[in-house]
């Protein structure tokens, strides 16, 4: 009888002998094909969901556990190319199926175009629903290259978001669809930049091509081990060098993106490029120009501002200090509150009458939530940002004429919708 900790944990509260526990808790061993890699699972209870096995046994924590009822969609994964709720699939019955998780979207080393578009359009706040959203958008765009808004809404109706809302996600769907359509129209022009810089279109490319372009010296033949997704425990072990000031712009980080931390020493060689190489790439090179793999949190401004004297010199000559967010544009003119700085006309600041030697950073208009930062930070995504929070979207319908009565455009083959919409013939009684 094995003495694995899970078995022991489960048997003890019941106060049963191992034999009885084994009967109450039938186990199975199987192999899952996750993102193209064979992952053996040994001695797992047959009632474990695919979500549980992915998260707890295989360490793929991208899919989130929201409701365990299939209501929230945070656990969405693809099984045999179909979007399913991972919490409602018995993992033992998903053996020999092709499973794609959100980690597979970014397997090429950077966030996929879907993930970048979600981040760029402000569709991420707490991020809990984002892996499911990314999988749902990915699945939608696999099946339907030009979804209408109604089709996008229907495809996303199983993914609940309780903080950001869905407009950003719908904008991301259109962004990716437009970008892919543009890429399909101009294949010869898109081919050249891909060789130099793995951009959003790199998601569909083979792993070895992108890994080679990103500078990781990993031979394609040697990639036989499952990839280490540096998102779970790797970055906890290794505190990365602080490249960005603490009060700088927060990273628009999508959950499945590889964290800028080194691989766990005990883990096999990662196919991802070394995080230090990613984080220090100067602007203009891959990953630095916004069209690159992912957002390192390093932003350019239009003109260089001298760094704050109290902050250590930044690594990399191109990194500049960025003014803090959230401060009012105009300096406060009234009596300062306790502990605040009183700005002086010469730009020097004093606290409680003492000169702090603090050179005030140049205040610039702070960008509204979700708008692109000034400069060239986001120019590569061909998306000019969402309007500020609360601003209504453009009046024109983005996907053609709006539906005027009758069956909505998303209802196929002219059938009557099952609920919610009154048809004219409903009125001929009372």
């Amino acid at each position: 009888m094995t003495t694995d900790p899970i078995e022991t944990l489960d048997a003890d509260p019941l106060g049963l002998s191992p034999q009885v526990s084994r009967e109450l808790r039938p186990c199975a061993s199987y192999t899952l094909r996750v993102n193209g890699f064979e992952r053996p699972v040994t001695d797992a209870w047959i009632g474990e969901s695919l979500l549980y096995v992915l998260r707890e046994r295989l360490g793929l924590a991208g899919a989130k556990d929201g409701c365990e009822q299939g209501e929230c969609g945070a656990c969405s994964v693809q099984v045999d190319g179909q979007l399913v709720a991972g919490c409602l699939v018995p993992a033992a019955l998903a053996a020999d199926s092709e499973i794609n998780t959100v980690e597979g979207l970014s397997a090429a080393g950077g966030a996929s175009d879907v993930q970048q578009a979600l981040a760029a359009s402000g569709a991420v706040q707490c991020g809990y629903c984002t892996p499911g959203m990314a999988m749902a958008v990915h699945d939608l765009l696999q099946r339907n290259h030009r979804p209408t808004e109604v089709e996008a809404r229907q495809a996303l109706c199983g993914n609940l978001c309780r903080c950001t809302g869905y407009k950003g996600v719908l904008a991301a769907v259109q962004t990716v669809a437009d970008a892919r359509a543009l890429e399909a129209e101009e294949p010869e022009e898109a081919a050249a930049p891909v060789e130099a810089a793995p951009g959003p279109e790199a998601a569909d490319r083979p792993v070895e091509a992108v890994a080679g372009a990103a500078g990781a010296a990993v031979e394609p033949e040697s990639v036989v081990e499952p990839p280490v997704y540096t998102d779970a425990d790797a970055w906890i072990e290794h505190v990365p060098q602080q490249h960005v000031p603490q009060h700088s712009v927060p990273q628009h980080s999508v959950e499945p993106q590889p964290q800028p931390g080194a691989a766990h020493p005990g883990m096999p060689q990662s196919v991802l490029p070394h995080p230090a190489e990613q984080a220090h790439v100067p602007a203009g090179a891959p990953y630095g120009d916004g069209s690159g793999g992912y957002d390192t949190g390093v932003y350019e401004t239009a003109g260089p501002v001298p760094p704050h004297a109290g902050i250590p010199a930044q690594a990399g000559g191109d990194q500049v200090y960025y003014p803090p967010q959230g401060y009012p544009e105009q300096p406060y003119q009234g009596t300062p509150a306790h502990g605040t700085y009183l700005p002086y006309p010469d730009g020097h600041q004093q606290q409680n009458g003492y000169d702090t030697g603090y050179d005030a950073p140049v205040y610039e208009p702070t960008p509204a939530h979700g708008t692109p930062l000034p400069g060239a930070a986001f120019d590569g995504t061909a998306f000019d940002g969402t309007p500020p929070h609360g601003t209504p979207y453009a009046a024109q319908h983005p996907h053609g004429a709006p539906v005027e009565g009758g069956a909505p455009a998303g209802v196929p083959y002219g059938a009557t919708p099952a609920h919610g919409i009154r048809l004219p013939e409903d009125d001929h009684a009372s």
């Binding site: 039938p26 919490c87 199983g158």
Partner: protein, 288 residues
Amino acid sequence: MLPASLDEAVDALAAAPAAVPVAGATDLMEAVNAGRLRPAALVGLGRITELRGWRYEDGGTAVLGAGLTHARMDRPDFAALIPALADAARTAGPPQVRNVGTLGGNIVTAAPAGDTLPVLTALEATVTLARAGASREVPVSHLLTGLDPVRPGELLTWVRVPLLHAPQVFLKATGRSGPARATASVALVLDPARRSVRCAVGAVAPVPLRPLEAEAWVAGCIDWDGSREIDPAANAAFGEYVATACVPDNYGAEGAWEAVTEGPTAAAVRLRRTVAVLARRALGRALK
């Protein structure tokens, strides 16, 4: 255990009668995740490809595999065949659930709010239950009411649905605009050959209900040979008739003292209004 054919699955169930046959697992895993069910063994039916399609049979009958997913039933080719079932499948849940949830699982689970159940009841479908070496046919209403339940070792394999070639409507009232459980649903099919209207109301009772008297009455109000029209007042009366037949006066009553009070409860009035509107609209759309 993942049998690849129907015979293997039936043999596996015969060998281990305590095993749970699983197709889409959406209802099963919800119970397992909540701790309400600890399966002794699972027999996965996802590999049985013969159950995932449908075929035609003589006498105007479609034989649907129990492994038909809701997403498959939503597709236009199936919707041309049995439109009400396609409508029910489309609103059954989010895409993540409809991609794996199956017709057979919906019948076997027999949830009160199961969306395909009123449609199958209105269509008077029959199901085939197979066990090792034998099989039997059971009307779906007998299965749902427990008159003739699934026995240990039996597997629901086929659903036999008559092809009526007439308008069919499925309407559903939910608490929100997205996919949700029905608070009430109405399936209504016309049978011009027999000059009858068949209606079933779901989600207001543990099983779908058939208002047989209302059906017979409204079938006499329809001009079957002509333009198949109905007087709007008769249509509205049909809705009230169905609602009164399917929702009892003491619906939602907690204690016995409430049951003896005069008149229907507030919950009954509210639900009757919903059912009446659904039934009236369903008949209006079917006779459009």
